[in-house]
Amino acid sequence: MILSLEQASSSIAFSLAPLLEEHGIPLAVMGMLVVFLALVLVVAFITILPRVVAQISAPSPPRPMTDPAAEDVLPEETLVVIAAAVAATVCRPHRIVRIRGLTPEDHGWSLEGRLQHHQSHRIPHRDRR
């Protein structure tokens, strides 16, 4: 080990000459410039990124406005069919106030099933005896 220390210390020679060669200061300066250039471009990209994302994920243009009342109007035939069905089901004087389509949130089938289930075991009132 001592030998290697002596050998190495004899081989260590301070010289500024390598700095002036192609692989000296020019390479170091170029290296720093490339690092800065790459990261400046990254900065520029990150700066515009939110705007790019906003463009990409912008909502589709709104559809032309239509008269909501006109959309709600059902064909007369449909209205007649619904009225007939309600009359056949209710079997007493009634008035249809509103017709609307069921959405998935309404759980229409479940609601209908639950109604039928409750009606199937209706307990008669005592005063009707």
Binding site: L19, L27, V35, F36, A38, V42
Partner: protein, 382 residues
């Protein structure tokens, strides 16, 4: 032959077949250094995930082999040689970068892009040390491998030295990881020396929220920008951003989880152990190794100072001042240097939280050091 002679002969044979016969003072010194690493890792918790495998590897690598037996990483056909293949050929570092990418959250960097420049400024340590090493007689290839220690990124240092100066790999790897472990010791004095109390108390605005789309697009485009300018960095930067894409796209959670847990752990164990095992006293204990350690310390200090001073320089032009302490995190060493910034900042103002701000130059430093390594490799490989 008398019984005494027979026993003496057998004892001599036994002695010759033990490690004691080949043990030199250098091996004993290295074994003590390895034990010291393990002590620092366990008792002081300095980078235990690295120093325990390295420390034990140092001990393993310094047990002398018996004549005729091939054991070390430098001998053909040994188990250690096969494991060391990943270090020698630069296979492990990119895999570690994949795991780092899958762990890294670039959000703070994306929310405050100007802080990326601090990660570039800190690379001054790499190039000034490169010049310093040239002046004391190292070849350009060796000087490049030594300079990258200032990048404070162990895998990058190993990758570059395996390409440019394989003979110095052990010393460079040990120096890089030692200084990364000593970040809490090296950086604070430099940070206090170069900043005023008022500067250390500067508060910064909280980061904005970054959308998922930004976090997905960033790794792809940033990879293209960095590698078109420095193609030498394609392996390291590619794996880093690939890992990050796995994390951010959220449809490859299983892959991201494996990359940032089991895979990086396995590779870290192999890398640390093999680097440690390569520090055989006969190869490692040389004056050049001591020089490399000295240059590594200079590189680290200059990189820290470079980041700090550039932050102060940026403050000359900024309306919303940045705390110059976060410039010190530009040296990479994720996340230790960011933690040091937080600690030093809180010593001045306990209600000032700089950690998340410091993570921006910290991860930018990883990209910067990988680009610096790519440039040095592409320029010096031939």
């Amino acid at each position: 032959m008398t019984a005494y002679d027979y026993i003496a002969t057998k004892a001599a044979q036994l002695w010759a077949t033990t490690a004691f016969s080949g043990m030199e003072p250098g091996n004993m010194i290295m074994i003590m250094i390895g034990a010291g690493f393990i002590y620092l890792a366990i008792a002081k918790e300095y980078e235990p995930l690295l120093l325990v495998p390295i420390g034990f590897g140092v001990i393993v690598g310094n047990i002398p082999a018996v004549a005729g037996m091939t054991l070390s990483v430098y001998e053909e056909g040994t188990v250690l040689k096969y494991l060391y293949f990943g270090v020698e050929k630069g296979i492990y570092p990119p895999l570690i970068f994949l795991g780092i990418g899958a762990m890294t959250d670039f959000s703070t960097m994306l929310s405050n892009p100007k802080l990326v420049l601090l990660g570039a400024a800190a690379q001054i340590g790499v190039f000034l040390t490169y010049l310093g090493a040239l002046t004391i007689g190292f070849t350009p290839q060796e000087a490049g491998a030594i300079g990258i220690i200032g990048g404070a990124d162990g895998p990058t240092a190993i990758f570059l030295s395996s390409k440019l100066a394989p003979a110095l790999l052990g010393a460079i790897a040990i120096a890089a990881y030692s200084y990364m472990a000593l970040v809490p010791v090296i950086q604070p004095p430099i940070m206090r020396l170069l900043t005023t109390q008022a500067e250390r108390r500067i508060r910064m605005k909280p980061s904005r929220e970054v959308s998922r789309e930004e976090r997905i697009i960033f790794p792809v485009v940033a990879f293209l920008i960095c590698t078109t300018l420095a193609p030498g960095a394609v392996v390291l930067i590619g794996m880093l951003f690939f890992g990050n894409l796995l994390k951010e796209c959220t449809v490859t959670d299983r892959l991201a989880l494996t990359a940032r847990s089991a895979m990086i752990d396995i590779v870290t164990i192999l890398l640390g152990f093999c680097v440690g095992a390569s520090t055989n006293a006969q190869h490692f204990l040389q004056a050049r190794s001591i020089l490399i350690f000295c240059l590594g310390a200079v590189s680290f200090a200059v990189a820290t100072a470079g980041g700090l001073l550039f932050a102060k320089f940026m403050n000359l032009f900024l309306n919303e001042k940045i705390n110059p302490l976060i410039g010190a995190a530009g040296v990479s060493a994720v996340p230790d240097s960011a933690r040091v910034v937080q600690v030093v900042g809180q010593q001045e103002d306990p209600t000032n939280f700089l950690l998340m701000h410091a993570m921006a130059p910290n991860v930018a430093g990883v990209i910067g050091s990988a680009i610096a390594a790519g440039i040095l490799w592409s320029q010096l490989a031939n």
